[in-house]
Symmetry: C2
Subunit: 1000 residues, 2 copies
């Protein structure tokens, strides 16, 4: 990925400041200094313009359609493009000083500064300029898009003449001649229209007021933009004289004055944008005039105050503080502020991939809203979250029509859209992403569980659940070759570097949740609201039998697990693909999609974003820790991160697995993605999903927050350089503040009733005024023992059993050969004995012999007694129990339970891992992780005891403290020569040292 | 599929005649009455025009480029469309009679007839017309596009006034204002240009001559069209007066006269089209003038004579005669004539999907040329075949560049193109069809083997073989999960109803041939032409190691066989797909591609054309008969035939398997596809591949011709209604005539040295003047016996073995239970015994018991002696041997060889099928087909003898005569109560009766 330019903003925690003007950063800064309120967005263009800029003003959900031209069309392709329009520019204010036009591309910039105030929602600008003829002026601007008045914006613009005297002319306009940018060859940007999509219907100017009304050609949407001005002046020689005029696509107000040194001229420009998306088309002009009048009457100071007030409320719940890294702190605040500026609030709009700051992705809504952005709003601003959910309910009818067009029952939501119709022009990475259905349901469910607000169920929500479940039940099929499992074929998962695959794990898992949740909701409604359920059943022709079908589909859902690697396969064919030649791929060949044909990418094991890992982040309870670790370890090296949605998920997954440095690395890329222009395309607009990913990284990554089934849990750990991370969560009418310091976490319930949560597996119940502080220092809660060579030594019995077999069938065998069998399984051991004897046998025969040896062995272990416990073990176990430390056995031997019983220590063990369910043996950490998980203890609170190299590796891979018995055990945190040296006190001390180093 | 209108042409074997004018058939008839010579093509438009027609004139390989607009573009997509241009219309001749314009859409048609003379290559037209004001004229036209002068065409046009007197004006023009048709939503048609692709550079008229020169915008191609006229008249009152003029995009010559009843005016219009594809752009005009002058000087009668001469030569080698079906005869001749009119001859052009008759598929060349069309030309006109092969060699450089763009080594030929660049705008059914490489090599190899002409190897052919092999070696990968087999992933096979699959069987098989042939050719060249090989090695940086790689790739090629079904899987995922609901698909929903989204189609087991079946037609020697039959039986019901390329392949496969009625049905759809407008789109142009498929159906289907490794073989069988099928083949400087009658086939070597061929497995050597006639009546050559119950009865021994086992392990067992075991295998028998005993056992245990029973059985059969032969068997076997009839044993028992030895008949058997290699037991015909194949005997020359229902079914499925022993054996052709009734004489008689019925 391209590194992008170096950071250019001083790391002020509450402001983004540009202290000099660099034309090379023009478009990026237009994006960064954008203002918006979820309805109206304005790019940070200079009022007077600058060559090469993108003069941008956008209304959320205000779009034009244009037919998609395909190289070759086929049935069911998306018909029309929908493009969020770049509408009339109300920011335009030009200045002429003594006949010279103020323009930063001419003359000399004496000073230039812009500041975006994240606390107050105002963009400040101050520039001093010397004209080519030597006239000097200072211009000061304050600009805001009102967060409390959705149609309103204001620009407080003033000029001072610094020297001499001359005439000054200021023109403030609504410029309706702007339009959307042209397309490039980059599929991530938009497309050109055949003709200008907006036609001017009306233009008027009167006094200091003006209005422009425009209408789209195909969608027939109307937009009215009205302006009004308050003109003030000081120390003028003459004037000010105000005039107005209109010209094609333009309304303008001109102020002329004769100025002298120290003269100032100030225009406060009030703007209102009203559209037929809210009002009848014919009343838009009137509405805009009324709105602008109201705003002018309120006055700029009131607007500023309202703005500060609104933001204060926002930050009250949403702020996230990072102590110890001002640059990341700034990145985080900027991102959350941008999300607040971008999200639709009216239930008819959502949040565009680039917010309201640019034209990338044509202003479309994707799954980004549901999977990335909604968590932030659900837990910080449920009202906005509700509106975003409602948007999907509003387009359910269109999703139903789309399903029919795709030959399916139920509803299929569009992969990308504004108005609700599918508009993705490349179906393999568009319509084929059926998972959008389940993503929407996932967010819906999270919203309901986190807010407790079930009202949406009656407002289309239940219907949406049923229709999406219906689609899945109809889309999948029971495939005989897969033992009749329910398979979902020919889909594309979130990772678009594979396409049109069978049984994408993410899709199948999420579809299963969708099916189950729909069925469960129907059941709940039958209990709680049967009449409503009956109404819906009748309306959409649903029956109980169909719901049974959903359950069966969910139960028999095919889940592509690979037994050998112990991972979840991204899809059926993943291991059929060739490895990608990462070593031979130069940095400039990323992102791959711009340098390789899709066929080449699809043919290889390479990921744009990690699909299975995302599933384990969203549905963590469906995966064991061992699976999570193996999945991450397998897929992460194959992940290019070419998608901006990738690093935040990698961060959360890495944090959960204890890969704290990797987590920090991914977080850094997410947190300042746009400020640092990491992907080199910030000029096209912000990356809203990645911004929300910042919040996800902090709250779900470093704080380890999970919300499974409506219960919050945390497992915090700070990256090395941080002092404190603090954030708040709205949750079921509570406001919970979480403060994570290096060694402690404090939960403070600021509002609402006491709440059951858990921290690092410990159940807690913070109540108002009674903050709870928990230590984050790992404490020893469990010791997990290997069996053979640690608890007892059955090596001799194995030797005897092999000896017996060997003599019976006439094979040479002695203790030398036996040495080769250490830590080797039954089948392989026999191979070694046979090899030594120069013999081969048929498979069948070998199987029988191995069984025979096992029978002998089982006979021998019947002779085990407590006296066979290795020295010191019993004492250690007793001490552990006294101390309340739990004890688990992590042996790969299926005979372990019997041996333990015979040793007489069965009663002292809290858990014995069932070896028959282990997918991968040591050095895989599975057996240790399983022991910890079964006891509900975080892995870092465990110590493992092992006498073999592979065992120590497994313990370390599990993230635990490792005690080694013997010699030559690299990686062991504590090494003793024999079991009698395993003194509890020293273990405790050693663990304590390790634990303090771990927390850092 | 749509049935299309009913046949409208009387079934004249040498002509297509339209006896009245039906405006509804306008466009179809424009296609049918097209004329062409492989370079220049003219649609059968009326000279005077008609509303709604497509005025079409095309030059093979004369195209314009225009950028492809994608909904969403990605790296490596085809950049430009290439469109064969509809060029200046030289056919235009309008008539004005007393000021009324002659036009069939006004006035009254008194009579109208058009005839395309397939023997002489002339289109005749005669129409009598009464004007709205009552004037009556008769117009006669003869039109030809010269098959011997590539640039020339002539129209002999005359008018007679039938009544009264009036002024007559005739305007003959070159109209350069015509252009290509617009696009529809049907992806099979072409696309609109943004602006007219041809600009007029020059227009001149002088006397009776005129010229128009045009140039394309993007490709810069120049086209000059020149005309000259000879005007004759009779019985005019006044005139004729000849004038000329030009107007934008037009040059015209006008003839005025005062006519009276019986007056005639005749214009012979000579046309020449010359382009910068052959001549320097600036000389095109001069060339066209010279050409038209030469043609006028030769005169129409000479042209007609030349034309008849050329066609006589063509038909000499190419004609195919069907006696007994005039309608099919007409269809066949029309198709072959159309192919001759369409194929490029200059080595720089190929054959467009619609020939030179329409704009469908934009005039592109596909694999159609190599797989469907080339066989016809290779065996009837090797010169044209050579030119078509040379076309591919000419674009090798572009194929190399395309491979690089697709991140591959070697060369990748374009899926569709004119100029050589990839132009397919939908890569999943375009570029992903990598098989095009192997298709081209397959045709190249067939050409070389059939003609013996190896000169092309030094003209780029060897290089092409190496570069295509190189692509395959680089494209595929050894996949560990497939045991390191060489897999070719993410491709699309010929069946476009599956896309982006792994290991498409067709692709892998054809790629293997490509790799092997390239390696073998390198070896041959090293021996025969080492210097040339060294030159190529140096030129393309090739080494011997790379060739070894090709061999290894071929040897380890992954071939997706399904052991359970015994079929070749179309691709890895075929059985993962859901069944298509054929019953629920109404006829109007075909072709599926116009009614279902690709995702829906790809997700199901449904075929556009049968991919695996095509492979077994092209590479028959790579499949056993049993595999062919199972493949066909499995895939054929899943095949929609939505592709026009489908029926001919289904015909050949059906014919080989003895499904003669199905073969005939498919053939009928192919043979008159355009004449009867089977697909309803003949108006867009002919279907050249389906036309060639007619020849393939006849020669490879009904005549059963195969050319494996350069040796011709035949296995003819006529469909029920035919009396005779006769065709000729050019083969290695010979001309071989094959005449198939109902019961005989005659091979007559008309030219060249004696030739080794085989007919129905029999080697023959026809020589000039010594035709060989072979009977087609099946003769009994082999009797294939089942073992148990036919040769001997081991049932008793099985009973004893089971009894022993049952008593040993204490299970109840008696003769009643034993009855249930008849014809049942070992494992299943044990299940039955256990079920009867109400017992269950672990799998492992059951396996052991079954083995124990088999040991007992093997002991028992050691006691078999010749006296255990069933009565009459030995006598029958001796008679068969006396008669020279071969004897085979088709038993599913692995103990059969031992039993046969003990019975003392081992020496009498010609073949014992190895039961361990049989994939599917009876009733699958595999074991019988294998016996016949192993002895090289056609299945219909075999009789099978069986005592079980499943056995009789297997024999019948193998297409053999079935003798049954016992009772209740439906399907048996002859049933005897016991083996002693199996008299040879009666068998022979019964077989004879069956055989005569078989041949029909």
């Amino acid at each position: 990925m391209s590194a992008g330019p170096a950071p250019i903003y001083p790391p002020d925690p509450w402001a983004i400041r540009e202290t000099s003007f660099d034309p090379a950063q023009l478009r990026r800064n237009e994006t960064i200094f954008s203002l918006g309120n979820g309805h109206l967005g304005m790019r940070g263009n200079f009022e007077e313009g600058f060559p090469g800029g993108v003069v941008g003003t956008y209304i959320n959900g205000f779009y034009e359609e244009t037919p998609i031209t395909y190289g070759e069309i086929a049935y069911g392709y998306a018909k029309n493009r929908q493009v969020m329009l770049n509408v009339a520019d109300g920011k335009a204010i030009t200045l002429s000083v003594g006949g010279e036009r103020f323009d930063l591309s001419s003359g000399t910039i004496l000073s230039s500064e812009r500041t975006l105030d994240l606390a107050r929602g105002v963009l400040h600008r101050r520039v001093a300029w010397r004209s080519p003829a030597g006239r000097e002026v200072e211009i000061r601007v304050r600009r805001l898009v009102s967060l409390s008045r959705r149609h309103a914006a204001v620009i407080d613009w003033s000029v001072s003449l610094l020297r001499g005297s001359c005439p000054i002319e200021v023109e403030s306009a609504i410029d309706g001649s702007v339009g959307n940018q042209a397309a490039a060859d980059d599929p991530r940007i938009g497309t050109r229209f055949a003709e200008r999509p907006l036609r001017t219907m009306q233009r008027e100017a009167e006094g200091a007021r003006g209005i422009l009304v425009q209408k789209t050609r195909m969608t027939g949407f109307v937009l009215a933009c009205a302006m009004d001005h308050v003109v003030e002046s000081g120390a003028l020689e003459q004037g000010p004289a105000v005039a107005c005029s209109t010209s094609p696509d333009r309304a303008s107000v001109t102020v002329q004055a004769q100025a002298r040194e120290g003269s100032t001229l100030r225009l406060v420009k009030y703007l209102a944008y009203c559209t037929s998306r809210e009002f009848p088309g014919e009343s838009c002009a009137r509405r805009a005039r009324e709105e602008v009048t109201r705003t002018r009457q309120a006055g700029i100071e009131t607007l500023l105050e309202e703005q500060a007030q609104t933001l204060s409320l926002f930050w009250h719940a949403a702020d996230v503080q990072i102590e110890g890294d001002d640059s990341l702190q700034q990145g985080v605040r900027f991102n959350l502020f941008s999300l607040f500026q971008s999200a639709g609030r009216d239930g008819r709009t959502s949040i565009a991939a680039k917010g309201l700051t640019g034209e990338g992705y044509e202003g479309h809504y994707f799954w980004d809203t549901e999977i990335y952005v909604l968590p932030f709003f659900i837990y910080s601003n449920p009202q906005i979250a509700r509106a975003l959910v409602a948007y999907r309910l509003g387009i359910l009818g269109k999703a139903r029509a789309r399903a029919a067009e795709m030959s399916q029952r139920g509803a299929l939501f569009p992969w990308r859209t504004i108005g609700g119709e599918e508009t993705s022009p490349y179906y393999p990475a568009g319509t084929a992403q059926y998972h959008i259905n389940a993503d929407i349901v996932h967010a819906f469910r999270t919203y309901i569980l986190a807010t407790g607000d079930r009202t949406l169920l009656s407002e289309g929500g239940a219907e949406m659940l049923f229709e999406t479940a219906r689609l899945w039940a109809d889309l999948g099929t029971r495939i005989p070759r897969r033992n009749g499992a329910f398979c979902i074929n020919e889909v594309t998962g979130p990772d678009e570097y594979s396409a049109l695959v069978n049984n994408n794990a993410y899709t199948n898992l999420m579809a299963r949740e969708n099916l189950e949740y729909a069925a469960a909701t129907a059941e709940e409604m039958r209990r709680d609201n049967a009449a409503e359920l009956e109404r819906i059943f009748a309306a959409i022709g649903l029956s109980g039998a169909e719901i049974e079908e959903w359950r069966r589909a969910a139960e028999t859902m095919y889940l592509p697990l690979d037994r050998e690697l112990g991972i979840w396969l991204q899809d059926d064919g993943f291991l059929d693909r060739a490895p990608w030649d990462f070593a031979g791929t130069p940095p400039e060949s990323y992102p791959l999609l711009l340098h390789y044909h899709p066929l080449v990418i699809y043919r290889h094991q390479v990921l744009k974003q990690p699909d299975v890992v995302l599933a384990q982040v969203l549905l963590g309870h469906r995966f064991s820790m061992a699976e999570k670790k193996r999945n991450y370890d397998f897929y992460n090296p194959l992940t290019t991160g070419d998608s901006s949605l990738s690093p935040c998920i990698q961060c959360v997954a890495a944090a959960e697995l204890g890969y704290i440095d990797a987590a920090y690395e991914y977080f850094s890329r997410t947190a300042r993605m746009d400020l640092d222009d990491v992907n080199g395309n910030a000029g096209d607009g912000i990356h809203t999903a990645a911004m929300a990913g910042t919040w996800v990284s902090l709250v779900q990554g470093f704080a380890g927050m999970r919300d499974i089934g409506g219960r919050l849990s945390f497992k915090p750990r700070l990256p090395g350089s941080w002092i404190c991370l603090r954030f708040r969560l709205q949750f079921r009418d509570r406001l919970l503040q979480v403060t994570i310091r290096r060694q402690t976490v404090t939960c403070d319930l600021l509002e609402g009733d006491p709440l059951d949560i858990s921290i690092r597996g410990k159940d807690l119940r913070p109540a108002p005024g009674r903050p709870i502080t928990e230590s984050l220092l790992p404490t020893l809660e469990c010791v997990i023992f290997d069996l053979d060579g640690v608890i007892t030594d059955t090596a001799e019995m194995h030797f005897q059993a092999w000896s017996r077999l060997a003599s019976e069938i006439g094979l040479p065998f002695d203790r030398t050969v036996n040495e080769e069998l250490r830590g080797v399984g039954r089948g392989k051991s026999l191979e070694i004995i046979l090899r030594n004897a120069g013999r081969t046998l048929p498979e069948e025969e070998k199987r029988k012999l191995a069984e025979r040896k096992n029978s002998s062995y089982l006979e021998l272990i019947r002779s085990i007694t407590p006296s066979d416990l290795l020295p010191g073990v019993e004492g250690l176990l007793r001490r552990l129990r006294e101390k309340g430390i739990r004890i688990a056995l992590a042996s790969a031997s299926r005979n372990a339970p019997q041996i333990v019983e015979r040793l007489g220590i069965g009663g002292m063990l809290d858990h014995v891992v069932d070896a028959s369910t282990i997918v991968r043996g040591k050095p895989d950490p599975e057996v240790f992780l399983r022991a910890a998980e079964s006891l509900g203890i975080p892995f870092e609170n465990c110590a493992g005891v092992e006498d073999a190299k592979a065992g120590i590796q497994a313990i370390k891979a599990a993230g635990m403290f490792a005690a080694g018995i013997g010699r030559d055990l690299p990686g062991a945190d504590w090494l003793v020569a024999s079991t009698d040296k395993l003194a509890f006190d020293e273990l405790d001390t050693r663990y304590g040292t390790w634990s303090r180093a771990w927390i850092g």
